[in-house]
């Protein structure tokens, strides 16, 4: 009895610490997953509707992050920063689509080459304007606190990111599944030729979807800068590979798919980081391979 009494509390403390570690890891994974969702949702729709593989999507994340940081610092408002980041990324996206990609529909190799070129150009423009040093992210003082989870703290801003995801996801799902615009987008993804025969002009829809996808990428850059440790020239590059994995896991052209894939990859990567350490790098891609083998259209992708 004495032994149990002596070791009992120690055992409980260990278990309690393990629980704290798991909870914090999962929450960090969810907040990372929401940022990934914003990046991957746009990528998924552009691929599904327009058949465009936009490698420069990550560079748009970085564009949004830098512009958002600049405006947020100048105005003291994260909302204005988010708006500016999203709009600038959207405008750059429009330039890429209208200036180049509109002539390259269905030419995927050319799309990859052109958008890959934009990755370098956009990165070098930012290098020229902002310099090479990473910059600290902007977090408003009102959101810079933290909540205590056992022996750890968890940033309030990460919880705000999760809440933004909770609000944005139903809105995007509603647009996709319950509006006329969503119906046209779905029709365009399922059978663009048939949609055209039915008198639907897909060109403005394509432009709007590309613009919105770029805006979401820009917003992801602004929101993701803080939990990902700041704004730097590699920010988008780091995210684009994971976003592609999210699209494969969740499926192309589906908000639910993008969310499911992003949360799975966010949470599994975080838990793998905690418990499998360096093997964490393989987890998103192993998940991707498993999905490709057993369900090539993704968990919730359009057939």
């Amino acid at each position: 009895m004495l032994e149990i009494y002596r070791f009992g509390p120690i055992f409980w403390r260990l278990e309690s610490r393990s629980m704290d570690v798991a909870i914090v890891s999962i929450l960090a994974g969810i907040s990372h997953g929401v940022v990934l969702f914003l990046v991957a949702a746009g990528l998924s729709f552009v691929l599904g509707l327009m058949g465009i593989v936009n490698i420069a999507h990550g560079a748009l994340v970085m564009t949004g992050a830098y512009a958002g940081l600049h405006v947020a610092k100048a105005t003291g408002s994260l909302a204005l920063g988010g708006l500016a980041g999203a709009l600038l990324a959207g405008l750059v996206g429009l330039v890429i689509e209208r200036g180049f990609l509109k002539n390259l529909y269905r030419l995927q190799l050319e799309q990859i080459l052109v958008t890959f070129g934009f990755v370098y150009m956009i990165a070098n423009v930012h290098l020229w304007i902002y310099g090479a040093w990473p910059q600290a992210a902007f977090v408003p003082p009102s959101l810079s606190g933290s909540v205590t989870i056992g022996q750890f703290s968890f940033a309030v801003f990460r919880i705000i990111i999760i809440m933004i995801g909770v609000v944005l996801c139903p809105i995007l799902w509603w647009i996709q599944d319950r509006t006329k615009l969503g119906a046209i987008i779905r029709a365009g993804m399922d059978d663009p030729d048939m949609a055209s025969v039915m008198g639907i002009n897909l060109r403005p829809i394509n432009i709007a979807v590309f613009f919105l996808a770029a805006c979401l990428a820009g917003l992801a850059g602004v929101l993701g800068a803080s939990p990902l440790g700041g704004v730097n020239l590699g920010l988008g590059q780091d995210m684009i590979f994971l976003a592609v994995a999210v699209v494969v896991v969740g499926g192309v052209g589906s908000i639910q798919g993008a969310l499911t894939g992003a949360l799975l990859i966010g949470i599994f990567s975080a838990l793998a980081g905690t418990y499998l350490q360096v093997l964490a790098i393989f987890v998103p891609y192993i998940l991707m391979i498993i999905i490709l083998i057993f369900r090539p259209q993704g968990l919730l992708g359009r057939k």
Binding site: P134, F152, G229, G230, G273
Partner: protein
């Protein structure tokens, strides 16, 4: 007979033409002892190491300027190339520097992968490469023409381990490092020094390069007297930011500052989370070493901030290259240049510096503590001897 005479005349004419063309070439006979002395520079001007690559280049240029751009009465031509923080690009650029530009010595690069790849080629063409920061063990154990101007990565981590155990009184350490060779070697140096002084490393974690979410690794860190981190470049921002978010109380020590924590151009962005952090640095702008004051003044005047660790390394490596070329004089054989490098005894901004037979520099390595104004104040200085014993690198403090 007549036919033989004609044939002889034709041969003589041909030889005359060849000789005339050769002698009329301005390069002939002058390339070795006249014309500019060419030094190659391979710096990370783009890619993920661009911030520190640019600084290293700026430091090297100050060394050239202070020397007046001339050596042995001949102009010095600095042929600068961007390695793009990429192994393949580094190799292409090195071939160009050696085969097209005909440089005699190369300063750079920073990226360990590039250093590693270039080492074999340097051995083949017998062109000395003076690394910018510390170098990896493979450069010592595999290659013969790579000179490690700031020691090995391990030799820089080693004094931090000694200091943590002896002066800070830490008994246990848990480590987090980027999972590539430099990460393993900086942290490995710390562990060697720490355990040599009775410390115990209770856990070692390695995160995949490119990780931005450090939370899983930070929360998994076991409780110890100190948290040892090696976060290169932008990882430093993610690491410190998330360490602060999680309100972890373990003090951080760094077996090299990743080029950021002690860099006046970048540390402001990290904020007060770095106050109290201990780190070894490859160079400190506060060091009271010969020529450092003049270098810091010149650099600050030109670039607006005091030089960071890599700026100091760029300056020192260029200083080494220039002194070796001067010592070799007009004898341009690669072996003479290598011998000159091995025989150098310099007073540098890194303190007294010389290479041992394994081409590893012994220099003064500062341990710093970041104060309230984010200034990395020097709290100790160590000189580490590196030697190869039974195929392994072993370190000890210079007596």
């Amino acid at each position: 007979m007549k036919r033989l005479t004609v044939c002889l005349m034709v041969w003589l004419a041909a030889i005359f033409v060849v000789l005339a063309l050769t002698l009329s070439n301005p390069q002939f006979g002058t390339a070795q002892t006249a014309g500019p002395i060419k030094i190659g520079g391979l710096f990370e001007l783009t890619g993920f190491l661009a911030p520190i690559g640019k600084e290293a280049q700026q430091g090297a240029l100050i060394a050239l300027e202070q020397m007046g751009g001339k050596l042995l009465g001949r102009p010095v031509e600095f042929v600068l190339e961007d390695s793009a923080t990429d192994v393949n690009t580094s190799m292409d650029k090195m071939r160009k520097l050696v085969e097209v530009d005909k440089v005699r010595i190369i300063v750079g690069p920073i990226f360990g992968g590039s250093q590693d790849a270039m080492g074999g080629y340097a051995d083949k063409v017998r062109v000395p490469v003076i690394t910018l920061p510390s170098g990896q063990n493979s450069n010592v154990l595999k290659n013969q023409w790579t000179f490690l101007a700031a020691g090995t990565d391990e030799s820089n981590g080693y004094p931090m381990g000694i200091y943590a155990a002896e002066k800070l009184g830490y008994k246990t350490a848990t480590t987090i490092g980027s999972d590539f060779s430099a990460g393993h070697e900086f942290v490995g140096g710390f562990v060697q020094g720490f355990e040599a002084r009775g410390g115990k490393t209770i856990q070692q974690q390695w995160y995949p390069p490119g990780t931005t979410n450090m939370v899983p690794f930070l929360v998994a860190a076991k409780k110890a007297d100190c948290l040892v981190t090696w976060w290169p470049g932008a990882d430093t921002f993610a690491g410190f930011k998330q360490y602060k978010e999680l309100n972890i109380k373990m003090p951080i020590v760094q077996p090299e500052d990743g080029g950021v924590t002690c860099n006046p151009a970048a540390s402001k962005g990290l904020g007060d989370v770095i106050v109290g952090v201990y780190a070894t640095v490859l160079y400190s702008y506060l060091a009271k070493t010969p020529g450092n004051k003049e270098f810091v003044e010149a650099y600050t005047k030109k670039y607006g901030v005091p030089p960071g660790p890599l700026a100091g390394c760029g300056y020192c490596s260029m200083q080494i290259a220039l002194e070796a070329l001067k010592k070799a004089g007009n004898d341009t054989s690669p072996e003479t240049l290598k011998k000159a490098l091995l025989g150098l005894k310099l007073n540098t901004i890194h303190g007294p510096l010389s290479f041992n037979k394994w081409r590893i520099a012994t220099y003064t390595c500062p341990v710093v503590k970041i104060d309230q104004n984010l200034v990395p104040q020097i709290v100790a200085e160590y000189r580490v001897n590196s030697e190869v014993v039974k195929g392994k690198l072993v370190y000890s403090l210079e007596k």
